[in-house]
Symmetry: C2
Subunit: 337 residues, 2 copies
């Protein structure tokens, strides 16, 4: 029942704590013979070094934080998967925090993390975040940060995203080529650059094909899904000429399906639908949903790798690089000509 730590091991071996510590860290300063003895006893006693003592002394936590809006979303779940993989390989631990897209909560989380609990931070900003002082203050605390997906333009650091503009362009073009004349764009209204890029891709694709961009066809959704269903219903009823819908986020595509079911609009005959989505079951929907799918796992993994490189080099502030991983358009029944 006595605690097993360096002290107890040292006593049992009749050597100093320092030697035991060095032996376990495989220092060249200790003879092979003693290393063997130390390792043998450590194994026998199931010694595990105290992470906090080590962290305190070395000022290194071997932990990264992940701050995301939500986890019950296949994109973020996959991203975490990638992050965990990269972290594990590098011997790092992963702390997870959910903001639920709440600015106050995001600030509170980031604030707490400045206590040195993490060596670095991965973040996808909350949609409501407009002030970035809390993020900038991480720099004073020497905590590097890497954004992924929902990046923050105001903060200069490494960012990993997908090609949102091109994807928005492609999705729109895909609908045009499928024969759509009046294409609506559904997005979540906020100040996230990611939505702006997709919107711009949509607008430019329309222009490139000689279509006038109609502001009336751009629907700004809200946080509440039930409310979005109402908004979409109202739009489709007000504008019966709409024959194509490009949803900027998955749940708006799903809501569109619900509204179409409700209104008796057939997909794809009456309205074609495409949306950004990482839904596994997209191919099994009725009808199978055409998607632009982000490489979520790779985005998480790449972001983590970049962060970990910076952490290992003790680079608190990263060069303002931007890594772009390409999304893939899967054409399925919902946009069939």
């Amino acid at each position: 029942m006595t605690p097993v730590n360096l002290k107890s091991l040292a006593e049992e071996l009749n050597m100093s704590i320092a030697t035991v510590s060095r032996a376990l860290r495989d220092s060249h300063e200790v003879s092979e013979a003693t290393k063997q003895r130390v390792r043998a006893l450590a194994a026998a006693r199931h010694y595990e070094p105290n992470a906090y003592a080590s962290s305190l002394r070395r000022n290194i936590s071997k932990t990264i934080g992940v701050v995301i809006p939500k986890v019950a979303n296949h994109f973020f779940a996959l991203a975490i998967n990638g992050i965990e993989e990269a972290a594990r390989q590098a011997g790092y631990h992963v702390l997870i925090y959910l903001t639920h897209d709440d600015y106050a909560r995001e600030v509170s989380i980031v604030q707490h993390l400045k206590g040195g609990r993490v060596d670095g931070l991965l973040m996808s900003v909350a949609s409501g975040t407009e002030d970035f002082a809390h993020i900038k203050s991480l720099r004073e605390a020497n905590i590097p940060i890497v954004f992924f997906d929902r990046v923050c333009a105001e903060v200069a650091t490494a960012k990993v995203t997908t090609n949102d503009y091109e994807s928005g362009y492609q999705a729109t073009e895909h609908l045009i080529q499928a024969g759509c004349k009046h294409i609506a764009h559904l997005l979540i209204s906020n100040n996230l650059s990611i939505g702006q890029f997709r919107l711009q891709g949509y607008l430019d694709a329309l222009t490139a094909h000689g279509r006038p961009a109609d502001p009336d066809l751009i629907l700004h959704g809200v946080m509440d899904n039930q409310q979005n269903v109402g908004l979409i219903r109202e739009l489709l009823q007000r504008r019966p000429d709409i024959d194509g819908v490009f949803a900027s986020v998955e749940r708006l595509a799903i809501s569109t399906y619900h509204v179409c079911n409700e209104l008796g609009r057939r997909i794809p005959e009456d309205i074609k639908v495409i949306g950004f989505s990482n839904l596994e079951a997209a191919a099994l929907l009725d009808p199978p949903l055409s998607t632009i799918t982000q490489p979520a796992y790779d985005i998480g993994r790449e972001a983590a790798k970049i962060l970990l490189r910076a952490v290992e080099k003790k680079k608190a502030v990263l060069p303002s690089q931007s890594v772009v991983l390409e999304s893939t358009l899967f054409a399925r029944q919902s946009t069939a000509g």
Copy 2:
């Protein structure tokens, strides 16, 4: 650029470190006047206590670990959501580890966690885990553990599950009432009690309705989905009399959909399908999938709450209670009469 810690605050305020510490922890041993001064400066300097020093000294990490097979699965994602919520409310942090259903990885993770990095552990065991020595050894390290969903019968501690037996019974009965004569049961073959309960529910429901249980109709799936598709195809071809499928896990239901599409079997006309699933889009599948849906969020939240209560009371070993939260059967098109 000088570090802001208790020492620097104390110097600036001309008082001892002890007083500053006590003031910040709102101790009754310090006057209101000095508390004010301390708090003011701490706020001005953006002081954040060093988590590791505190943890080392108090032997409390304010952190819980979550060890699960995967995160890219709506059930676990929702569970994490509930866990994070409970943890946040109690002021705890959440470390996450993925086993990918790999026994060796699970052992390695648990081993490392004995270093005191976490105050308690939430776990859903890997499907390949047969030996539980690594889990039992947590007891020596005074780390309480709570199982959720995939519990471990060999270890006496608190467990949070859903009513797997009753749900299996209900699902089977649902198919019987829908008119199915030959009901297959698909499960993942492993030693998890959870699958055994569902299977037993299936068997008992058949018996209760005077149907002989046919071992040939029980398909033991494997880890690889592609392989499962082959197995299911083989089963449905060998036994064309099968008119109902009860899938123990989501991906087997999905694979069944794929096979039925491929073989031209109509759902629900030729074969009715029901499965355990937390798929959000179940209602949008073609056809909408009848599901038994687990209260994933609540399971996670409840498990975390139980664990946190134990942690706060420094109860390293929890009473062997079992909390059962009920699943809900959603009857949809895939089992329509």
